[in-house]
Structure formats: C-alpha cells, structure tokens
Amino acid sequence: MNRPKFNVKSIIVLTAICLIVTALLAVTNHFTAPIVEKTRQQKIEASLKEVLPDMTKMEEITDLPEGTPSTVKAVYRINDDEYAIVLATSSAYSSKDMGITVGMSKDGEILGVKLTSYFESKDFGKDTYPQNYVGKNSANYTDVDTFSGVTYSSNALKRAIGDAFECLKLVGGGAAE
C-alpha cells in the first residue's frame, strides 16, 4: 500500500481551514450564547415552579458554603422552609450535562424532581422516572432502582440527588440528617 505524501501545503491548508471554521463558530457563539443562557434561566425558573408548585417567594443563595458539590449550580430558598437545588451532572458522565432541579423540604424530603435537559439517545421516561425519588430522603433515596438499559444515566441521576442532599445539609444547617 502506498503511503500518502504529506507536504507543508497540506499542513497549512488544514490548519487554515480549522482556524477559519473555529473563528466562524466563535462569532456565532458570541451571538447565540446569551440567548441560550436566557432560555436556560427560563427553563430553570419554570422547573422551580414545577417541583415546588406552592412557590410564592424565591431567594437565591448566592454565597454557597465551602464543600458544596461541584454539580450544584444554584440553590434557591423557597417560601422560607423549602429549597430548590439546580444541578448539572458532571461532563465525565456524558458529552452533555444532564440538568436536574430538585425541590426539598427543610427536613430533607424530596418534594419534586425535574429533568431540565437530557440528551441521551436512550430515554428512561424523563418525565416519569425521576418521580420515583419524590418522598425519599437522604436515608432511603438509594433504594430507587436503576432503569434497565439506561444504567449510566440512572446512576448519574442518583449521584446528583445525593449531591443535592449534601448541599442541603450544608445550606440547611444539617437539617437533612
């Protein structure tokens, strides 16, 4: 088999094409990123209302305590005695994060779970499966079975729920124990 002959021109052309394409994508991203972020915020706000339908007052806890899991992206105190925790699973699990909003009482009981983004080809019923966690607490949330055929996503969701309990313990002063 003949080996292909590479020369300087090949390297220059390929590099130039890569740079031009990258530049075009950077320009596009400059215009689309703020719109995507705005849509994401709207989705999060909608998910807060979905996991805690009685929400009348919402306050974001901006100063998260040290040791908060890196998957926790935002924490909201709802109606003084409830919390909504917004999580994004680690990119180590998938090329795109799974977005999850968990509503919890101050006592550490899950009141609602909503998947705000899920990009995998195999679905586990993204609107139904997370509801298995409703009513669970830090002691028994691991009892929820993984979904056959979607094991990685099920486990990623379970780990995220665990991180939500960890976060609640930190912001709620150990109420989740």
């Binding site: 003949n2 002959k5 390929l14 689309t32 995507v36």
Partner: protein, 235 residues
C-alpha cells in the same frame, strides 16, 4: 437541463436513503415522528448545501492527501453552526433531536456527496446537488415517518387520529418496525426505478475515499464493489 437533472437526481433516481442506502442510522432513529423527520431532514439539507458549496469552492486549494480531514472539519463546522442556531432559536426542536443532531457530522450522505460530487463540480452544481440530495433525504425520512407515526402511533405530527386509535401497530414505532418500513420502501423504489437506478459500475474505486491511497482493485481493500456495497459500514 443539466442543472435540473442534478437537482432532481437525489429525489428518486439516486435517492441517498432508498437507492444509495446512505444515512441509515439517522433515518431509522428519526423517522418515528413526522416533526422529527422534517427537522432532521432540513438540518441535514442545510449542512449538505453549505458543505458541498464550500468544498467545491476549495477543491483546487485542498491537497488530495488531507482532503478527508478538511471535509470533516468543514462539515463539523456547519453542523455545530446548526446546533448553536437551533439551541438558541428552536430550543424545543433542539431537545427533541438530541444527540442525532450532532451525528449529522458522520452522516455518510454528506461526506459521500463531498467526495463523489462536490470535489469534481463547480459551486452552483454542488449546491444544487446538496439541495437535491437533502430533499431526497427529507422525503425518504418523511415517507417513513408518516407510515410509522400514522400506523404505529395513530397520530400525525403529534396530533391524534381518532378513528385509528384502536388499530395501532406498535411494532412500527419500535426499531424492528423501522427496518421493516425501510425495507418495504427500498423495494418500492427499486420497483419504480427499475433500470434507472445506478448500475454496479457506480460503486467502484472512483467513489471510494481510500482510492487515492490504495490504487488497487476494490476487492483488496475490503470494500464490497457489488451494488449497494458502498453502503457497507455507513452510519
């Protein structure tokens, strides 16, 4: 007349899905619903037109040895562009298409047309080929999606069809149903285009991405030269 023939080739005579048997993976995955099929078809059409035009424009600049990496960079660039625009302006559709949108990069139709057509023809002809092939892909997806959604799910574009609710054929929306409908449509197109579909000689070394490296008969490089062999291992 020649340009009209280029444009219409992809619709039936050289339909990328039902005659060339390219892009099978997204076809089977995205033909469960009409909305998904149209969205995927239009996204792929946009990428086909743009990548064909740009590759044709650069065909004299790109050295032969690095042409495949260059094509992939151009195609991946346009796919990412579509992803960014869709995520910003059509977020619901973006969520619906999920991972299959990014997989347009490895859709054999796009690299196949770049290699077989765009690097041998001028910009206008290449763009027309992209448009024709894109519409052919969309039509094939749409035909499959209509059959699978209407008969398998008793709905059309998400709207329930009342009188069919008790006569659903659920297997049609499952993967085996996809293959079944796919096979039936291929047979139908083969019957309709009898004697007009591409002959064996179309699938020789000329269309092989490795042709410039091996320069041998196709049998030695493992590519099946029989009719339809080009589709071996396609995505």
């Amino acid at each position: 007349m020649k340009k009209l023939r280029i444009l219409t080739n992809g619709l039936l005579k050289e339909n990328p899905v039902l005659v060339l048997v390219l892009g099978t993976c997204p076809t089977l995955a995205m033909s469960v619903s009409v909305v998904n099929a149209i969205a995927m078809g239009l996204a792929a059409t946009f990428v086909l037109i743009c990548s064909n035009a740009v590759i044709s424009l650069l065909r004299k600049v790109i050295p032969d040895t690095v042409r495949i990496p260059c094509y992939i960079v151009v195609i991946a660039g346009f796919v990412t562009l579509v992803q960014m625009l869709m995520e910003a302006y059509l977020p619901d559709l973006y969520d619906m298409l999920g991972v299959y949108l990014a997989l347009i990069v490895v859709n054999c139709i796009i690299l196949g047309r770049a290699e077989m057509f765009a690097n041998k023809h001028n910009v206008l002809e290449s763009a027309l080929d992209g448009l024709g092939m894109g519409f052919g892909f969309t039509l094939a997806l749409l035909a499959m999606a209509i059959i699978r959604e209407v008969l398998g799910n008793a709905s059309f574009a998400g709207h329930a069809i009342g009188f069919l609710q008790n006569y659903k054929i659920p297997i049609l929306v499952a993967p085996p149903g996809g293959f079944l409908v796919f096979g039936c449509l291929i047979a139908l197109v083969a019957a309709v285009t009898r004697g007009k579909a591409p002959k064996k000689k179309t699938f020789d070394c000329e269309g092989c991405p490795s042709a410039s490296f091996c320069r041998k008969d196709c049998a030695s490089c493992g590519v099946n030269t029989e009719k339809g062999g080009e589709a071996n291992g396609n995505v």
